[in-house]
C-alpha cells in the first residue's frame, strides 16, 4: 500500500525551522519547528487566536515568516526553501503538488462555474487539452467524493454545504498532490455531514498516501484524521506527539483543559 511505503520513507517532505510571525509587536506564531513525512497527517489544534491559522499560512507559503523558514521536498527529490522559490514555481506547486481545502468552500471553488470545470481547472492549468479526457477525469473524481455524476454541469452555488466541501476536495486532489493543507475542513457543517466528510477524507488520505496538515479546533477531527498532533496556545506549540497519546495522556495544563472540555459522545 502507498501508505505503508510512504510512512517508511525517511526523507521529510516538509521541514519547518524556527518559524515565527509577528503582526507589528504582536507575536502570532513563535519558534515552530517540525518535520512532516510523506503520508503523514499532522493536526494543528488550539482555540481561535492560538496562531494555528497563521502557522498554516506560513507553512503553505501564503505568508512570509518574520523568522525561520519552511523547506519542501520537490518532486525531483530536492529540499527547497520556499522563500527562495520564484512566484511562478510557488504557484505551480500550489496548483499541482499541493492542495488547500478552505473552511469556506466559496474561497476554494469558483461558485458560478460548473462542478466539472471546477475539478478540471487544475488539469487544464497543467496543459490538459482534451475535453473528453478532462470530463472523464472530473466524473471519476466526483464519484470518488460521492457526488452524483449527474450534477457535473451544475455550479457549486446550487450544492449543499457538504457537497461543496467534497467538491473542493475533488478539485484539490485531481492533480494527485503529495501534500494537502486543510483549514477547519469540517467547520460550519452539520454533525452528520461532518462524519461523512471525515470518513471520506480519512479514506482518501490513506488510499492516496497523502501527507496532510489539518488545522482544527475539533479534537474529534484530529483523532479521526491525524497521526500526530501539535497543540498551540499563544502562538507557541505547547505539546506535540502521537495523536492518541496527546489526547489520551495530555501533559500540559492547557491540553488537559482542551481534552476535558470535549463532551462525551
Amino acid at each position: 500500500m502507498s501508505e505503508l511505503s510512504s510512512l517508511d520513507n525517511d526523507q521529510p517532505l516538509l521541514v519547518a525551522e524556527g518559524l515565527a510571525k509577528n503582526y507589528g509587536r504582536l507575536p502570532a506564531c513563535r519558534d515552530v519547528s517540525f518535520a512532516l513525512y510523506p503520508g503523514e497527517v499532522l493536526a494543528i489544534v488550539g482555540e481561535s487566536g492560538s496562531g494555528k491559522s497563521t502557522l498554516l499560512q506560513l507553512l503553505s507559503a501564503q505568508l512570509a515568516p518574520s523568522a525561520g523558514r519552511v523547506s519542501y521536498r520537490m518532486r525531483d527529490g530536492v529540499l527547497r526553501d520556499l522563500a527562495e522559490l520564484g512566484e511562478a514555481e510557488r504557484r505551480f506547486l500550489f496548483r499541482t503538488d499541493w492542495g488547500f481545502v478552505h473552511q469556506d468552500p466559496a474561497q476554494g471553488l469558483r461558485m458560478g462555474v460548473s462542478a466539472g470545470a471546477n475539478v478540471g481547472e487544475r488539469l487544464m492549468a497543467v496543459g490538459w487539452n482534451h475535453y473528453g479526457r478532462i470530463r472523464d477525469t472530473a466524473s471519476t473524481w466526483l464519484d470518488r467524493v460521492e457526488i452524483d455524476v449527474g450534477r457535473i454541469d451544475d455550479a457549486p452555488k446550487t450544492y449543499s454545504g457538504g457537497m461543496r466541501q467534497r467538491l473542493q476536495i475533488a478539485r484539490n486532489l485531481v492533480t494527485e498532490p503529495r501534500l494537502v493543507f486543510m483549514d477547519e475542513p469540517t467547520g460550519g457543517l452539520d454533525v452528520s455531514v461532518q462524519a461523512r466528510l471525515l470518513d471520506l477524507m480519512r479514506n482518501l488520505v490513506s488510499e492516496l498516501g497523502l501527507a496532510a496538515i489539518v488545522v482544527t479546533h475539533d479534537l474529534a477531527v484530529a483523532r479521526l484524521l491525524s497521526h500526530r498532533v501539535m497543540v498551540m496556545k499563544g502562538g507557541r506549540v505547547i505539546e506535540t506527539g502521537l495523536t492518541d497519546q496527546v489526547l489520551d495522556d495530555p501533559r500540559e495544563p492547557y491540553t488537559q483543559l482542551l481534552v476535558s472540555s470535549i463532551l462525551p459522545p
Binding site: 512566484e87 462555474v113 478540471g120 481547472e121 487544464m124 492549468a125 454541469d153
Partner: protein, 294 residues
C-alpha cells in the same frame, strides 16, 4: 468659422507621444495589455474612445482613413468618427479597404485581405479576456505574467458542457505569438483566422479600461480550443442577398414585420465592390441554420 482650432487630430502632442510610447511597447510585447493615460474624448465611453485615441496618435497628414462599425462604413458611429478626423486632422477619408492606410474598426475585420503598411485600429470595450472568470485585476495580471491560462479553457469547457460545442461566437480568445492570451475585441470568431499572420499592423485601444495592445504584422495568432473540439468558424449558411458572396460574414436584416428577412454582407465595401464587378444575389429566403464554414 468661429470653431476653435484644434491641434492636428484633436489630441495635444504630449498626449500623442504618451500614447505612441504605449503603442510601441505594445508592439514590442505582442498581446500584452499596456496601460495608458486614457483621455476624455468628445464622445461617450463605448463609442470608441480607445480606438479614436490610438488613431489620433498614429495619424499623419498623408494618411487615408477608413472607419467601419460592424463592417459598415455608413452607420452613425462610423460616420461621426470619420467626420471627426476629417475635421480635426483634415485627412483624406475613404470607404475602400484597399485604399485606406489606417482603418478604425468596431467589431469586424474587413473581408478584403489587408496589405503591408496598413494599420487596423480596433475599438475595445473590455480588453481582459480573463475578466468574467476572475474579477480581480491584480490576479489576472499575475496570471498573464506567469502565463497561467488554465482558466481560459475553463470558459471553453463550460461552453461545451452547456451547449455541446464551443458556443463563444465573438471575442473568442486567442494566443498571440505563443505567449499572451488576448481578447480580439468583440469581432465574430469568423474573423479570428484573419488575425493570424496578418500583413497589417493591428492595434487595440480600450479607452474606458485604459489599455492598448497590439499584434505586429506577420505574428502567429492561434484561437484557443480543445484537441477534441477544435476551433471552427461559423457563418449563416447562405449567399449574400445582394452580391451572392458565399464566403463573407453575413448580417441578418429584418425586412418587414411578417418575419421577412435577408442576409447580406456585413462588410459594405466588399459587397459594393462585388456588385460593381457584376455579382448579384438572389434575395431568396435564407436558411435559418448556421453552418460550420472552414
Amino acid at each position: 468659422m468661429n470653431a476653435p482650432t484644434y491641434n492636428f487630430a484633436y489630441l495635444d502632442e504630449q498626449t500623442k507621444r504618451m500614447i505612441r510610447r504605449a503603442i510601441l511597447k505594445a508592439i514590442a510585447i505582442p498581446g500584452y495589455q499596456v496601460p495608458f493615460a486614457s483621455r476624455e474624448m468628445p464622445m461617450p465611453y463605448g463609442w470608441g474612445t480607445g480606438g479614436v485615441q490610438v488613431t489620433a496618435a498614429i495619424l499623419g497628414p498623408d494618411d487615408v482613413l477608413k472607419v467601419i462599425d460592424q463592417g459598415s462604413d455608413d452607420t452613425t458611429n462610423a460616420i461621426s468618427i470619420r467626420k471627426f478626423f476629417g475635421k480635426t486632422a483634415g485627412v483624406a477619408t475613404t470607404t475602400s479597404t484597399t485604399d485606406a492606410t489606417v482603418i478604425q474598426t468596431r467589431h469586424r475585420i474587413p473581408e478584403a485581405s489587408l496589405h503591408a503598411g496598413q494599420v487596423l485600429v480596433y475599438q475595445v470595450p473590455i480588453p481582459e479576456p480573463l475578466r468574467f472568470l476572475e474579477p480581480r485585476e491584480t490576479e489576472t495580471r499575475r496570471m498573464h505574467a506567469l502565463a497561467e491560462y488554465g482558466l481560459m479553457h475553463v470558459k471553453l469547457y463550460e461552453d461545451i458542457a452547456r451547449f455541446g460545442h464551443i458556443a463563444t461566437a465573438y471575442a473568442y480568445p486567442v494566443k498571440v505569438n505563443a505567449r499572451y492570451v488576448m481578447d480580439p475585441s468583440p469581432t465574430p470568431k469568423f474573423d479570428n483566422p484573419k488575425l493570424d499572420n496578418c500583413a497589417a499592423l493591428q492595434l487595440f485601444g480600450a479607452g474606458r479600461e485604459k489599455r492598448i495592445y497590439a499584434i505586429p504584422p506577420y505574428t502567429t495568432v492561434v484561437s484557443l480550443d480543445f484537441e477534441d473540439h477544435p476551433f471552427t468558424r461559423y457563418r449563416f449558411n447562405a449567399p449574400c442577398a445582394l452580391c451572392g458572396a458565399d464566403n463573407s460574414y453575413l448580417d441578418e436584416i429584418v425586412t418587414d414585420d411578417k418575419g421577412g428577412r435577408m442576409f447580406v454582407c456585413s462588410d459594405t465595401d466588399f459587397c459594393e465592390q462585388r456588385q460593381a464587378a457584376g455579382h448579384h444575389g438572389t434575395e431568396s429566403a435564407a436558411p435559418h441554420k448556421e453552418k460550420a464554414h472552414v
